[in-house]
Symmetry: C2
């Protein structure tokens, strides 16, 4: 279904229509009448023949035709009946205001399911229940109940709102309008029985009248649709700014590996937003700051900022903010700096360029400086700090004319004025194509977000997609049951993941012989399908330097495990070379029940468990992405040869990480996690070797995992 179908109906039934323009069943009618909705409005209420001057019908069955859309404002079972009747007639979308469904317990959930069944059978799209609805100001289509219109209707503009929460969506609209920002389209999804936030964002992305999308969500239903919408937005160069409430609400991961527990779903959500080039906001105000700036559709890809200021102090503050926002503030060349000083000798031509408040004695100077900076500085974004002067009664209008001229001459730059001014003065600057903020730190944070969008838009395609399309590997199929360590390693090795050579021994003599074949020192490790964390049960012995030590260690390991886990099935003891020159890392993949497969990477031991110095990325990904992950941990210098060590074989590590991500992706939903801990990354040229491997599989047909991670 396209956005035009949902947002532009030719006829709308209002089931539970009210004559009172302040009641839920009356507000949408009153609003649409007042705003001049051009289509048909068909009130439905068996108790009335006339509602707000419109002919009222006694039943959905008796409407003159199938309405394109319907508002349902009757409670409980009546609402479900109404949806069924609408579905029978062929209505294409229904907005169910009524509450008391899945959010209110089992009986409500059953009613909600009844609506969903009817909708799905007929192709009717269901909004809510428990939603305040949506609106499309272009069409004066207002199936929306809120007090937010009391102080005014949406302004013209190109920002769309998508929100799970009706109250939050309505408040976003309210605050945006008070800031002079136009949000003609708004979709709130409520209980999301059918339409979810991802689809709502997708419709906004599709809509030719929308350039920027702000979205609020808490939980996450049908994440695959959200990811699709984010990717569509990125390709269409439409920024999506997401505020997610409830940092633990994504739902607890069922995966039991260490990294999954550390990850936290919220962190994975950040990883996904970043992958798709969406930007996360901490709160509504910040979301609207970014949307306001984004509406100019100028994205400073290189992130260069020139600052012009009447106050040295403000210039310093803006430099601080630019550093936090990841923006660069390069200098103009020497000749250009001299030209600035020729304009005003006591000005400081070093970015942030301080023309001092004394320049106000000749107010035209500010404009001259702005022109020089635009012509010769090469900055993508130019921010001008005017304190209160930009809004002053006398000097403000002069400044406004100067900036209108220079912005017209350089429309490719993102011009921002920092000043305190009343709404009228702000609107005047905005009309000339300039952004206006009062707090410099907020402006610069928003500009930083635009630079992130610019970089995301410049990417040809999401890396995960191209990777997924490369030909299938030829390794062994996923084992039918949970493999032991040796089986896991053999399976991984068949897919090109380097594992340490090793042998499974079932008696001390065989262990000693295997060790002699590999060369000392070696390690011994118990092998049991019932024991995941071996060292906790005494199942590991390190640094064994002779056949005799190996034999004693074999006895010690088996005895300790027998004491600690007498019930465990024992397959034998693994013998492997002990690598002394490897940097210990942890590499793993795990399936998040909502967002799909993620790989994790960190240095081993305390770095992961204590310092949580781990990075994540959605699977699959290529070696370049793996290199970026490896560089992303705080401890990365240890792999580059810090503290006198030789540089580690980061290329081999990246290869291993990427291969693991691809093979995990290829083997489908039954694979829940693979943990390689440690991976020993030896000096450059000597490889990265998995020294242990634990694979978790879902029980067959358990339904514990959900299809979502790729499109």
């Amino acid at each position: 279904m396209r956005s035009s179908d949902v947002l532009n109906p030719a006829s709308v039934a209002i089931v539970g229509a009210s004559s009172d323009p302040e009641r839920i069943g009356g507000i949408p009618i009153a609003t649409m009448l007042q705003q001049g909705f051009a289509g048909e409005l068909w009130p439905v209420n068996p108790a009335r023949s006339d509602v707000q001057g419109l002919r009222c019908y006694d039943a959905i069955e008796n409407l003159p035709a199938a309405p394109d859309a319907a508002i349902v404002a009757v409670p409980g079972a009546l609402a479900a009946d109404a949806v069924e009747a609408l579905a029978r007639r062929g209505t294409r979308s229904a907005i169910v205001f009524s509450a008391g469904f899945a959010e209110a317990g089992a009986a409500g959930a059953e009613l909600q399911q009844r609506m969903v069944r009817a909708a799905q059978a007929s192709g009717l799209r269901l909004f809510g229940p428990n939603t305040i609805g949506l609106f499309n100001a272009h069409a004066a289509y207002y199936p929306f109940f809120s007090t937010a219109f009391e102080r005014g209707f949406p302004l013209p503009g190109r920002i769309g709102i998508a929100s799970q929460s009706g109250a939050v969506g309505s408040q976003i609209f309210n605050i945006a309008r008070n800031r002079g920002m136009g949000t003609p389209l708004c979709i709130t999804t409520g209980n999301e029985a059918d339409v979810t936030l991802g689809e709502a964002i997708g419709w906004l992305v599709d809509h030719p009248g929308i350039d920027v999308i702000v979205a609020y969500l808490e939980g996450l239903r049908r994440p695959e649709l959200l990811l699709q919408a984010l990717e569509a937005a990125r390709r269409a160069r439409k920024p999506v700014i997401v505020h997610k409430g409830g940092r633990s609400a994504l739902g607890a991961s069922a995966v039991q590996s260490h990294t999954a527990a550390i990850a936290g779903d919220d962190r994975l959500f950040d990883v996904v937003l970043d992958e798709f080039g969406a930007v996360r906001a901490e709160h509504t105000e910040q979301m609207l700051d970014i949307a306001y700036a984004a509406a100019r559709r100028i994205y400073p890809v290189a992130g260069t900022l020139g600052v012009l200021t009447l106050s040295g102090g403000a210039g310093i503050q803006m430099s601080d903010a630019a550093e936090r926002a990841g923006l660069a503030m390069p200098q103009m060349d020497g000749g250009s700096q001299q030209r600035l000083q020729a304009l005003l000798p006591f000005a400081s031509p070093v970015n942030p360029i301080d023309i001092t408040a004394q320049s106000l004695n000749d107010i035209d100077l500010v404009g001259h400086f702005a022109r020089e900076v635009a012509e010769r500085g090469g900055y993508e974004a130019i921010a001008v700090y005017l304190a209160g002067v930009g809004g002053s009664l006398k000097k403000g209008p002069v400044l406004r004319r100067s900036f209108a001229d220079v912005a017209r001459a350089h429309p490719d730059r993102l011009w921002t004025i920092l000043t305190t001014a009343d709404r009228e003065a702000v609107a005047a600057y905005e009309q000339d194509g300039l952004l206006v903020f009062e707090e410099p730190a907020r402006a610069i944070h928003a500009i930083g977000a635009l630079a992130r969008f610019g970089r995301a838009f410049a990417r040809p395609e999401a890396p995960a997609l191209s990777q997924a399309m490369s030909p299938a590997t030829t390794g062994a199929p996923l084992p039918a049951t949970v493999p032991n360590e040796a089986e896991a390693k053999a399976w991984l090795a068949s897919h090109g993941v380097a594992c340490l050579p090793e042998a499974l021994a079932t008696d001390a003599q065989a262990a000693a012989a295997a060790a002699q074949g590999m060369g000392f020192p070696v390690v011994l490790k118990i092998v049991s399908p019932d024991i995941a964390h071996k060292s906790e049960v005494g199942g590991v012995q390190l640094d064994l330097r002779s056949a005799g030590e190996v034999r004693s260690a074999f006895a010690a390991v088996t005895a300790a495990v027998a004491r600690a886990r007498p019930d465990a099935r024992i397959d034998g003891v693994l013998v492997a070379p002990q690598i002394a020159d490897g940097v210990e890392c942890l590499v793993s993949v795990h399936r998040d029940p909502q967002l799909g497969l993620f790989a994790a990477f960190g240095l081993g031991g305390i770095f992961v468990e204590l310092l949580q110095d781990v990075v994540f990325r959605r699977c699959p990904f290529d070696e370049a992405a793996a290199h970026a992950m490896i560089a992303g941990i705080r401890g990365a210098p240890l792999l580059r040869g810090a503290r006198g060590r030789p540089p580690a074989d980061v290329d081999a590590l990246a290869r291993l990480l990427s291969r693991l991500s691809v093979l995990a992706h290829r083997h489908g939903e039954r694979l829940r996690s693979i943990e390689l801990n440690p991976v020993l990354v030896r000096p450059a040229g000597l490889g990265a070797w998995a020294a242990d491997a634990v694979i978790e599989l879902a029980a067959a047909g358990s339904g514990e995992t959900r299809p979502c991670e790729n499109r």
Copy 2:
């Protein structure tokens, strides 16, 4: 000098007085005439006999009496002449607007020095030069030039502004006034030739009309006065909110130890603010958010927050924000929750308490809920989310009456309304004692800051002070010249800092004998006054397990050092036991040239150098503070026995850290740094031992350090 002397002069001379009310020499006269300054105004200008209707004098010498205060608005040498003349007459304060002094080069700096000399000789207090001045609206005293008054004068209120930057100070006033916040006192310090920001804050703290201080600074002159002012503010329960621009501007530390380089002056500034209970803001808007909330003078010491909301989504957002702000959101007891549900069955009585927008059908319910939550929830702060309804034309006034009643009944609570409303509606709530914010996240951040103030105000005395007053230790005096490792350890041991036993050997045989006395394994380390980092020159050998190994190692160490540093003076080789069960830590003190002595603590090696997992604290401090430091690193669990290790002797470590902080403090400015790296923290009961010690001393009379760290 007291604030009343500076802020309430009975007579004011204006040197360089202008008839033009828009020129620098004219603005203050026009302003004070308009606002009704009650004292004498004496223009000084040899070219005029009348200025803005006032008699004008031709010279300072010819004024009818010594003016209490003077504004100097003449350039360059004339300004210095004027200050000298004012000083001769006995004027108590001069505000020098003129620019072109220390900020403009050597000639200007000399003129500035001339003013300072004249001022200091007579006791005249000098503001600026290069300042836009100060104002005291209570006295209509406006020695201030700015366009900020164009749109209005300070509102009544109890917030004081102190700012180095005149433009920033003026803009803080401007924004505050637009938000309806009263800032009757403002002091900007400009070049700070005499009066610095610390003193300005101190005067605001002293002033009975001021409850809250907002301060902006960049550099830091006379930090001891700032610390005094912050401690005075803490004792007077007056919050100080500091915005510091220029994160690298505190000046580079001259100390060369590792930790000093990592510290960054900005981080030390944070440490100091935290110690004195001041709160740092990231930008002006955030600073004013906190000041606005602080003006109610209610500090939630326990940091408990009850949230009442019309929107579940907003409740979730506020919970997120509370977690970020360090606020607790405990639940009401079961009986109280039942009472809430009796009011409205479908409300969620779990904090954040969601009464849903449906409650608006009976608008009085909101007030009933608020009363229950206040009476039975025990929350120090109560925040109520009303979306746009709090400002709505019909329901807003009803809500306002409800909240006025409940706030009057519970004036000890910090009441905050989250709503979108126009200025008049906001002012109405404020009159009833409620705070109003539009963005919940900003409100809750501010409430979190108030909780920090509450905890700081509850402390009886700054710990550093009590510690400094305890009796002097009896250890040896600071060595006259830089001690070698053995001397350093002996000196430290005399002050109760545990150092590993060790012996200095000058030949291989003596080294072996010493090692046999201590027991194996041992380490050898070169001892030279010329070598600070021994392992870099091959001057360390570890894990020596026999007399033979010690003898070979002695030869290896001396040969390696002779190769690497043939010029170095060698005192011998130190023999010490090698501890295998110690956690390696770094403990150090270093003197910041501005903020004084700081101790640093972290785990050794990569934890400090790579992960920068280090905490700092101003010296001296007691063991409780040392325990807090130790618990403050990310890697702290390693000391508590993570990953199967025995818990380390944290008590001994805290004792060592505190003792080092006290002895460093006691031995004065010549001591530049002490670095104990590693300190080996053995299992509980076995102590924490410094295994290496490097002491840096300032050259005698070098003047490289400055007196500031204690009062």
